[in-house]
């Protein structure tokens, strides 16, 4: 993540992009020019320019904290830029509210459908602009007729009178799209629209997107699923750490290159670096302390299997949304599963709960330190002993002496910097909060430690300390699962790396293969276990793009077994989309 690389990446794009369209480039519909946005303590966007051309589908990609959401929010009037300007059809505009952007023809479809669940489909589509009869009453008949026509145009047959929430998420999204079209949107922004869709629904969505495309509507498409991007998008913009890394035609940008730009590692350099650490040779042969098979959860996990040996650090790689956090949560009993088995020390966990997992010796350091980790109003001492409280008590009364002993040991060992153990943990720095949480888990003397982004958002010094500590813990015989979005941290810290994609294991790197290059290659692959050659993948992707749509079942649900298909949303009503 060093700045020089970013600069190198930035200088790269004009090369392939510039000369390829020597003729006048298509007119831009929506432009952000030199846009910057700062929030307290962070620069979310730093001089980013983004151009959406008429009639194109433009992919916007980047990892966590890249600035995608901020850019979208600026484009759609939620935020106003601190610097730079927006241009719509070549003219500078300033949206003060999301409503103004909508009026100007920019519609947004968020991950979570932002319609009114209890209202009918038709009312949702005509919300705020209902057709009126001569008496000024809502003309329901016309509304229902036009809704049916509109949805029919997308191949959706559903009763316009049905309350929206009785439809499946996919259909709800179609309704949102239909609304966008019916308000004469010129630009539709879609933020990870497929993250909660069934493969079949994805096909319908893509068909609708194709329709919009044909009508000349421009789309901004945010997704982490490489397959989808290469299938439907024309151009791509890559953001990283709030900066523009690349803009160009997608077909000129190889998958591996795209992923390397997202993650901030230049491939040429990466390849030269050797594997940092050799695998713990003793660990490689030991009996696994934890074995998980077939971990499944609708939309999130699809049969993840892995094992962890004492003394090893197993890296869990994958792009955003690949199921890393969910896997860790599942192992820690914090995610209800549809199926799967977890065995610890030869004994199968019968109940899946946090308490059961902790009793079995599994500890999870959660990704979201503030929401899931610290109890801000309590002291450092109380936060450390939180999980161990029953062990440090006698007959239900807490023993202050025992607590102090444990707290003292861990504050020294982890070098937690606090005014005193009685200082509120909410007042500490991020790094020290993270150490407090590590101490909370270590004082339980776990056998398996699951670390979800243990160094995110903490300063460099604390980061190095935490990384060293992880090595030490593994050397002491703990089995560690390490999740990190930073390739470098993963490759240097882990002896072995399991890569996830779309909630399933996509590959495993062992021994000398634990390199950033190899990891990038697996991350960028299309099909599970595909050969590590970029050329072959692109060909496969091309073939898929060329393939005609109407075979939804054959959709490349990367790793998704047919088990997904019949298992529809329990709360949702019957599917209404016409599969043709």
């Amino acid at each position: 993540m060093a700045p020089p690389e970013a600069a190198a990446a930035q200088s790269a794009p004009p090369g392939p992009d510039g000369p390829r369209d020597p003729a006048a480039p298509p007119t831009p519909v929506l432009e952000a020019v030199g846009v910057s946005k700062r929030f307290p303590g962070v620069v979310a966007l730093d001089d980013v320019s983004f151009t959406l051309r008429a009639g194109e589908i433009h992919a916007l990609v980047g990892e966590n904290g890249a600035g995608k959401s901020t850019l979208i929010k600026i484009l759609t009037g939620v935020h106003r830029p601190d610097e730079g300007e927006l241009r719509l059809g070549g003219e500078a505009v300033a949206f003060h509210r999301p409503h103004e952007a909508q009026q100007a023809g920019i519609s947004t479809i968020y991950q979570e459908v932002n319609l009114v669940p209890l209202m009918s489909v038709a009312r949702n589509i005509f919300l705020g602009r209902e057709p009126r009869t001569r008496l000024g009453l809502v003309d329901f008949r016309r509304m229902h007729r036009e809704t049916a026509e509109l949805l029919g145009g997308f191949g959706i047959t559903t009763d316009p009178r049905r309350p929206l929430h009785t439809l499946g998420i996919g259909t709800q999204q179609m309704v949102a799209l239909a609304r966008a079209v019916s308000v004469r949107a010129r630009v539709v922004v879609m933020d990870e629209p497929t993250s909660s869709l069934e493969p079949r629904e994805v096909e319908t969505l893509f068909r609708v997107i194709g329709d919009l495309h044909a009508r000349g509507i421009s789309l901004v498409y945010v997704s982490h699923r490489m397959d989808e991007l290469y299938r439907i998008c024309d151009r791509v913009t890559v953001l990283r750490d709030g900066r523009l890394v690349h803009t160009g035609d997608l077909k000129d940008t190889g998958r591996v290159r795209l992923v390397s730009m997202m993650l901030g590692r230049e491939l040429a350099r990466v390849r030269k670096e050797a594997a940092a650490g050799s695998p713990g040779s003793a660990a490689a042969t030991a009996e696994p302390v934890l074995t998980a098979t077939g971990l499944s959860r609708r939309h999130l996990l699809d049969g993840v299997a892995l094992d962890l040996r004492p003394g090893e650090v197993l890296g869990l790689g994958g792009l955003l949304g690949s199921g890393r956090t969910e896997t860790a949560k599942a192992l820690a009993g914090a995610l209800p599963l549809d199926g799967g088995e977890i065995t610890v020390g030869g004994r199968r966990l019968r109940r899946i709960s946090s308490a059961a997992a902790i009793r079995a010796g599994i500890s999870l350091l959660p990704e979201d330190r503030k929401a899931e980790g610290i109890v801000p109003g309590l002291s450092v001492r109380e936060n450390i002993v939180l999980a161990a409280l029953p062990r440090l008590s006698r007959f239900g009364f807490v023993s202050r002496r025992r607590q102090d002993r444990v707290v003292d040991v861990f504050m020294k060992r982890l070098r937690i910097k606090a005014a005193s153990p009685e200082q509120k943990v909410g007042e500490l720095s991020g790094g020290n909060q993270q150490k407090v949480l590590l101490a909370r888990w270590l004082c339980l003397e776990p056998r398996v430690l699951l670390l979800d982004e243990p160094t995110r958002g903490i300063d460099v010094g604390a980061k190095a300390e935490v990384q060293t500590l992880i090595d030490e813990l593994a050397a002491e015989g703990l089995a560690v699962l390490l999740i990190s979005s930073e390739l470098e941290e993963l490759v240097e810290g882990a002896h072995r790396i399991v890569v996830l994609r779309a909630g399933a294991v996509a590959g495993e790197l062992t021994g000398d293969d634990v390199t950033e290059g190899a990891l990038l290659t697996v991350l960028a692959e299309t099909a599970p276990q595909a050969p590590a050659q970029a050329g072959a993948e692109t060909a496969a992707a091309d073939a898929r793009r060329a393939a005609p749509d109407p075979a939804p079942k054959a959709a490349p649900a990367a790793g998704g077994g047919p088990a997904d298909v019949p298992d529809q949303a329990p709360a949702a009503g019957p599917r209404e989309e016409d599969p043709r």
Binding site: S354, A371, V375, G377, L386, S393
Partner: protein, 320 residues
Amino acid sequence: MTAFAFPRGLDRPRIADALQRYGVYAAVAALLVFNGAFTDHFLTADNLRTQLVQVAPVVIVALGMALVIGTEGVDLSVGSTMALSGALLPLYLGYGLLPALLVALLAGVVVGLVNGSLVSLVGLQPIVATLALFVGGRGLALVIAGGRLKQIDNTDLLSLGTDSVLGVPVVVLIAAVLAAIVAGLVQRTTFGRQLVAVGGNRRAAALAGLPVRRVLIGVYVICGVLAALAGVLATARLTASDPSSLGNLMELSAITAVVVGGTPLTGGSVRVLGTVFGALLMQLLHATLVTHNLHDSTAQMVQAGIILVAVYVARERRAR
């Protein structure tokens, strides 16, 4: 609220912090000083004893409420629970005081189990979950009592309401002992610390393997039992069981005491002594205004002002 515009240059959050922490004690002290100077016969043993006897049931209920609020919840059913225990009491007094007392307290346990289960297992919002028994509990009490007021003639029970030990009424002693027990529970027991953690960050508590459901159910059970006990004591003092009016608006008095005492409604902190003083403050304030010939409704408006101040201070403090 212009009186609350802090002077410029001062650290508003810190003032709010101090005000939330110590404001209630200062206010009680100020009221006592004011009355000592301007109200005849206020600082007499007799009057103070009367005030304490009157506030004791509120304190007992508020102790349970403080625990519930500490978990980011609220229990609206406490007044109805008082009525329920008051209605059950005369039915079993024939077997003696102890069995009748146990039955009455058992009613509190059942109410707490229902509330706690609705909140923790079903996942209802506490305000909705406890609203059910707020309405239903009093109805049940009226059915049990046959809709009538019943005179109590059991001398053991009546002595609970009238006796004194060394000049301190038994009711006040019970409230004081319970306050000490609840304070110990919060500060010294595993349950108490887990309660505070659950209120402070429920997701973190669950991920740390804390028995979140058990803690929540336990908290509502304790609140129910305390309310039932308050119902027994209030019945003893009234020498009659009156399910139609016993404990009316008690939930609001208890919540007021907790909030004025500096416990944030957002959970994660329980201030037991503050709660006791919160109840005292409201009681003394009311008594002061009434003895100065202000109408009851005026007193209520002043109390409303105090509540607003307490909530404002809590908000100001969180805003840092």
